[in-house]
Symmetry: C2
Subunit: 201 residues, 2 copies
DNA sequence: TTCTGAACGGAACGTATAGTATCGTAATCG
DNA sequence: CGATTACGATACTATACGTTCCGTTCAGAA
């Protein structure tokens, strides 16, 4: 049983890479416009200008299709500026820029909601999400190694602390994030981390 | 044209309050199980043991039905313990308890996602959401009046800071919130607020 | 150049569901 | 006790989706 490997099947018309990208792009667009559950393979096919069969030939269902499309969206960049504050500000700034420039703002909630009802999506999506946030968690770990933050601060939790407010505004107030808000958000989060938490240790 | 006011229509069989509650309850259950977009009026009718017409007679569409059902879920309690830390810990604790005891954890993401694609839902839902978070924002305002936190801290932003990490864990890690995590979460958020942010003013 | 085989876009088929209309029954008011 | 309205149940229509099939197109092998 040969798989559809690059050189295995050999003969025949090769799959169009152009169609591949068109499908993924259309998937992202529709994901942003109508959400995961309202996204249909037919809609993707029409938007991409391909036949439905072309999609079913490559992805068994819309689920892995959506996850692959989501994976093409930009995540946190791995920045190492030398200080936690510098890392966070750089990362969050580009992250917010990505939110403004890509469908991330609407795709994210849609996938998160579906995830809570669809365990299959969770299994496919969770590693992707974890990978996306890894640069952020790494920045906290570097800061801990540098002694910038208390060693007993949970890096995962700290990452949540930084991303959380953004997510909340995003999900519940309809993307009312102005670039000006990044600084106070980071400041607020930072003073809970860089200031020695003597009173709470 | 008389409305369906309490004493206006007078004659005829009155609407069953029992059916009303059964419909709202079934709506919440299904909202938690399948999400907003997969929720069907027919499904609600079956679950509630009522006819479809009974639902359409009272709600023009599933949208206001869902919003009304969501409004029945518990929100933040208005606690005034005298200190910000006490208020936050009490509020967040009961809030998390509510998350464990009600379908909030799955209903929330579902509505948030739909909101980003459906402006009509946003208009219905936003006042409800704002009202739910008001006790939290009020606690911050009281703290500011007491001088517990810097007067130039944005109460809305601070509320986001506290709720954010919970929302993130909830949405993207599948409700991995243990009650034990409440304390460190609050501590982390608090030291950014009660500690005078001299370096960032 | 010709042949082969897989992928292509488009169309057809069967299924499912939303929303409406209608029925006979039940319940309250005058 | 009659009038009026709501009730649960069923049938119906229209739409939309997933899936499969079909004739055509294209790249590589002979």
């Amino acid at each position: 049983m040969r798989s559809r490997g690059e050189a295995g099947a050999s003969a025949g018309r090769p799959r169009s890479e152009e169609a591949h990208q068109a499908i993924l792009g259309a998937t992202l667009e529709l994901l942003a416009e109508v959400g995961f559950s309202a996204l249909t393979v037919e809609g993707v096919a029409n938007r991409a200008g391909v036949g439905k069969a072309t999609i079913y030939r490559r992805w068994p269902s819309k689920l892995p299709l959506v996850v692959e499309a989501f994976g093409q969206l930009p995540a946190f960049e791995d920045v190492d500026s030398g200080s936690l504050e510098g890392d966070l500000k750089a990362m969050l700034r580009t992250f917010l820029e990505n939110f403004l420039a890509t469908p991330l703002a609407t795709v994210y909630p849609s996938l998160a909601a579906e995830r809570s009802h669809n365990p299959d999506l969770g299994e496919l999506l969770d590693p992707v999400l974890k990978g996306r946030r890894q640069p952020l968690a790494r920045a906290f770990e570097r800061a801990r190694e540098r002694g910038e933050i208390s060693p007993d601060i949970n890096a995962e939790l700290a990452a949540d602390l930084v991303v959380g407010p953004i997510a909340v505004r995003l999900f519940f107030t309809g993307m009312q994030i102005h670039p000006d808000m990044v600084e106070p958000m980071i400041d607020l989060a930072l003073c809970g981390l860089v200031a020695s938490p003597g009173g709470t240790s």
